[in-house]
């Protein structure tokens, strides 16, 4: 049973039948191979996503060339310009981020600096609850409850700003409950949990010495945050914001229900619009041929944008974490 040994095997204790010299057991090597394969699966899937979707979208790229960024989207006329959806994605995501970031960072600061430990747990529970509400429920509530309610408010604001130069083009009519702005609000609710939890992680890496130093100099909490927390966590919070942006860009179902499904580019935030994931979700069932390729192509663009944003964001968060703990 022993493998090659050039030397007499020294004392073999009871219970052990293995010689001193032997190669690594097969089971051990197999396990390592399986583990490695599972890890590689991540890379394989990402590469496959890129290839397969691009391949399916190829007819669209070929048909339009750079016209994929054109303004007009008119499937019956075989026109598939994606600009309005890119615009819609950008606008709604920006609105979401602008609204969610101050709120999320505020809550993160609340949890790390303000509330005593006992109260932190319930607050975290609430944030977790927020995160676990499925996006389709947000969408259902959005379209059946929120949209009718806010449509009236938009109407009032719209008529109130008529005539005022900048405000009118932003908030003036036409207004609709299902609009860019509504979508932005709902997206803001949905990305708050992730931005909050990441900001918390980032703020937690601020060395306690710096915070205590600020307090020891007589700083108020606000001043301590400005002087000790902010410089350290700036970078990390930017990363968290980018991750929230990426998440908002990719959110499909809630957007599909409340954005208004109107492929236009307009500065009126209260007007209906459309976004990349929303149009894919809404129009895919009837699509075929180049139409379908175009929708998948929108998916490719979405994939590319979110990958880039996520890579940058994770790199920033990673570097901020290293610096914070250095």
């Amino acid at each position: 049973m022993s493998t090659v040994t050039q030397q007499v095997d020294p004392a073999v204790p009871a219970g052990s039948t293995r010689p001193l010299s032997e190669r690594r057991p097969l089971g051990d090597r197999t396990f390592q191979a399986i583990a490695l394969a599972s890890g590689l699966l991540v890379l394989v899937i990402l590469v496959l996503i890129a290839f397969s979707t691009t391949q399916q979208a190829a007819p669209w790229f070929k048909a339009e060339g750079w016209g994929i960024f054109a303004k007009t989207w008119n499937p019956p006329a075989n026109q598939f310009g994606a600009l309005s959806f890119i615009y819609g994605t950008a606008v709604t995501s920006l609105i979401a981020v602008v609204m969610a970031v101050p709120v999320s960072v505020g809550i993160a600061l609340l949890l790390t600096e303000v509330v005593p430990y006992r109260w932190a747990r319930p607050i975290v529970y609430v944030i977790d609850l927020l995160a676990v509400v499925p996006s389709v429920v947000w969408g259902l509530w959005g379209i059946l409850v929120f949209v009718p309610w806010i449509a009236k408010i938009y109407g009032h604001i719209g008529s109130a700003v008529t005539g005022i130069p900048v405000l009118e083009s932003l908030f003036g009519p036409p207004t609709s409950g299902a609009s860019f702005f509504t979508c932005g609000i709902i997206l803001a609710f949905m990305i708050t949990p992730i931005v909050t939890s990441l900001s918390r992680e980032v703020i937690a890496t601020v060395p306690a010495i710096d915070k205590e130093g600020a307090y020891a100099l007589g700083a108020t909490r606000l001043e301590m945050i400005q002087g000790a927390v902010w410089p350290h966590s700036k970078g990390g919070i930017v990363g968290a914001v980018l991750l929230g942006l990426g998440r908002a860009m990719g959110e499909t179902i809630a957007a599909a229900l409340v954005i208004g499904s109107s492929a236009v580019i307009t500065s009126h935030l209260f007007a209906p619009g459309d976004s990349m994931p929303a149009v894919i979700a809404n129009q895919f069932p009837e699509a075929s041929g180049t139409f379908r390729a175009a929708l998948i192509g929108l998916g490719v663009l979405l994939f590319a944008f979110t990958i880039i944003i996520n890579v940058i964001a994770r790199a920033i968060v990673g570097r901020a974490a290293e610096q914070g703990s250095a």
Partner: protein, 295 residues
């Protein structure tokens, strides 16, 4: 003793404008929290209020009626079956692979170039929009093998995989090294150490992370749009033929103008929310009861 004129030390807070600014900032932070609580409470209250009326055993088991049907007819039985099958399949595929991937990152190659790349890309993969996963499986599977619950499970599995990898990795990191050393010192191979000591020690956290991943997957709609082709008849065979799920039904009913369909959507939402919360609570419970590594 000299008369003490002059300064009296004021040990109260900073005076004037600094103090006010501080107060404003703190108030704003609380306002931020309230801004988040209000819509959450509204949504939950609405879902409960509008959904509870329709919940019944019939609702949970009966077939899906046409959208015009009134609220008293039919139910979402096929959708619950579909969610169970599809999410179950996805879990069976994603969780073991995710755990193995995390084992690779933590116990084997994590610090090398490949390991760091895999870890980084797993994080990036958590940010891939769910609709892209749906389009991916559509491109690579559905076109060849038609719509099926299994295709939906593949898409959900791809969504769950990086989440399980990351949360399992965190849990494995928490297992103290002396436990591994104690096992090595008894002559265990690395595989043995990992499977007989590290995994059992971390199992509480791993299960908790998996439960949260399942909760998220159960609520996903977008990836299913292109993989299961939402139908209304029950399909207990996930490997052949289109299927449905609870979120899919909510989505297709949400745009309906029929009150019956809308009521069913609210009922389904309540069901979905209850399921998601149940998994979340289970995850917390497991974490609280089953994570203890050392004296």
């Amino acid at each position: 003793m000299a008369v003490t004129t002059g300064q009296q030390f004021n040990l109260r807070e900073a005076k004037g404008w600094r103090r006010t600014k501080n107060r404003i900032a703190t108030t704003l932070m609380y306002v931020a929290f309230v801004l988040v609580v209000i819509p959450l409470v509204f949504v939950l209250i609405t879902v409960v209020a509008r959904g509870i009326g329709i919940i019944s055993w019939q609702f949970l088991t009966a077939d899906i009626p046409p959208q015009v049907a009134p609220a008293s007819e039919g139910g979402i039985g096929p959708a619950i079956l579909g969610t169970f099958l599809i999410v179950g399949l996805a879990t069976v595929m994603a969780v073991p692979l995710g755990i193995l991937g995390a084992i690779y990152l933590n116990e084997y190659g994590g610090r090398g170039v490949l390991g760091r790349l895999i870890g980084f890309m797993a994080d990036v993969m958590t940010g891939v929009p769910s609709i892209v996963m749906g389009l991916f499986i559509f491109s690579i599977w559905v076109l060849k093998f038609q719509f099926s619950g299994f295709a939906g499970a593949l898409a959900l599995g791809c969504l769950m995989l990086p989440v399980v990898i990351r949360s399992t990795d965190e849990m494995l990191k928490l297992v103290p090294n002396p436990l591994r050393e104690g096992s090595y010192a008894l002559g265990a191979t690395k595989a043995r150490v990992t499977v007989t000591v590290v995994l059992p020690a971390a199992i509480g956290g791993i299960v908790s992370g998996a439960l949260l991943a399942i909760a998220r997957a159960a609520g996903e709609t977008a990836p299913l749009l292109f993989t299961i082709l939402t139908v209304t008849s029950p399909n207990p065979n996930p490997f052949s033929g289109p299927n449905t799920s609870i979120p899919s039904q909510i989505f297709s009913n949400a745009t309906s103008s029929f009150t019956g369909a809308q009521a069913r959507a609210w009922g389904a939402s309540l069901t979905l929310v209850v399921i998601a919360f149940a998994f979340m609570l289970a995850a917390r419970f497991v974490t609280a009861r089953f994570t203890r590594y050392s004296r």
